[in-house]
């Protein structure tokens, strides 16, 4: 966990300290377009990665990332606490991904060609990697992760991903999901219990270490 905390603080240093970010957010709130541009640069990769973890499609991750920043740009004036920008941005991202899946389920139910196209696109993306070995490794990794995540409830999955893949703090997760910290801990505990008992994921970690 020390490594994880270190990693989060490293990310913060790269992005600037909390108070510096707060200043930039304040300027963005006042309508400074360049300030918002800096925030996009700071969090672009984090948000793209977050969306990719959940969709596993590069094209969808690009589209959703664009939508998330546009919504944040329009709504930043209404953000009351500037130091909560990161968790606020992640809350927008969580809702966007949820909407994306809701829409996809609806399209799948209706049997529209758009859905078929999206599924085909996802399949093709996996095959575009130039390195076949790495591509295989990547595919296997995401299959294993996907198999494990399917065993978790919606909230367990979200909390697990936010804590260990997106590397948010417990406080940030609670803010982003609009839940109490104790609720977050309870779901994280359940997810970790399943994680420890999952043989596939343990073997996967043994392979990547």
């Amino acid at each position: 966990m020390r490594e994880m905390t270190q990693k989060t603080s490293e990310a913060e240093t790269t992005a600037g300290t909390g108070s510096q970010i707060g200043d930039v957010v304040q300027r963005a709130k006042e309508g400074d377009r360049a300030a918002f541009g800096s925030l996009v640069s700071l969090f672009h990769e984090d948000i793209f990665r977050m969306v990719y973890f959940r969709t596993r499609s590069e094209v969808d991750a690009e589209d959703l990332t664009q939508d998330i920043f546009i919504q944040a740009f329009k709504g930043v004036k209404r953000l009351k606490e500037t130091d909560r920008f990161r968790s606020w941005l992640f809350s927008i991202a969580v809702n966007k991904v949820r909407d994306f899946y809701r829409k996809r389920r609806f399209l799948f139910f209706m049997g529209t060609p758009d859905e078929a196209g999206a599924l085909q696109r996802e399949g093709q993306e996996k095959g575009t990697d130039a390195e076949p070995l790495r591509n295989m490794e990547k595919k296997d990794f995401w299959n294993q992760i996907g198999g494990f995540l399917k065993k978790l409830s919606r909230l367990e999955k979200e909390v697990f991903l936010m804590r260990f893949l997106d590397q948010l703090t417990l406080k940030e997760i609670a803010e982003a999901l609009g839940k109490g910290e104790s609720t977050v801990k309870t779901h994280l505990y359940r997810a970790l219990k399943k994680f420890k008992k999952e043989p596939g994921i343990q073997a996967l970690i043994g392979g990547i270490q």
């Binding site: 541009g37 793209f48 690009e62 990332t65 420890k196 970690i205 990547i208």
Partner: protein
């Protein structure tokens, strides 16, 4: 107490220590601080989770597309921008609706409808006359006859004869 402190942490306690070590009960935390085996167990789980996060980040492509922000609205609208413009638009619509309704009712009224309005006005006039009559003589004609109010004028002459007005002397009659 000592017995508690000597026991190794079970799986649940290791998981709880990974989630938030500060929330562990004091005796468990003390044991974790002193016991290298339990500490190692905790670190192993944290290392696994960190490795998972690192691998996941490695298997994510870098974003290729640049985020394009929408253009801001022109500032020439001033205070009308945002919510005010909606309120103003609604107000203008309401005024237009009232204006057109008024125009249709009073200006572009068909001739037939205009005659109808005049007739209504006449009826209203008659009705007001009836009301004024009732104010002066609230009793119906039959009751007025019984009460003698129907001969009001005769009665007045009689009363003048019987009770002359003040200032008139009994012998003072006007010359014929």
């Amino acid at each position: 107490m000592k017995k508690h402190a000597d026991q190794h942490l079970n799986d649940d306690q290791i998981i709880r220590s990974v989630i938030d070590e500060a929330e562990l009960p004091r005796h468990i935390k003390n044991h974790l601080d002193r016991c290298p085996e339990c500490r190692e167990e905790k670190i192993r789980l944290e290392r696994d989770l960190t490795a998972l996060g690192d691998a996941a980040s490695r298997f994510v492509p870098r974003p290729r597309r640049v985020v394009v922000l929408p253009e801001r609205k022109e500032k020439s609208l001033g205070w009308l921008a945002g919510h005010h413009s909606w309120a103003l638009a609604s107000g203008v619509c309401a005024v237009l609706v009232v204006f057109f309704l008024g125009w249709n009712l009073f200006i572009r009224l068909p001739q037939g409808r205009l005659a109808g309005v005049e007739e209504e006005m006449q009826k209203d006039g008659q009705f007001m006359v009836e009301i004024n009559d009732l104010v002066e003589n609230p009793l119906p004609q039959v009751y007025r006859a019984i009460s003698g109010e129907g001969y009001a004028e005769v009665d007045e002459d009689l009363m003048d004869f019987v009770v002359p007005e003040a200032g008139e002397e009994p012998g003072d009659s006007s010359p014929v």
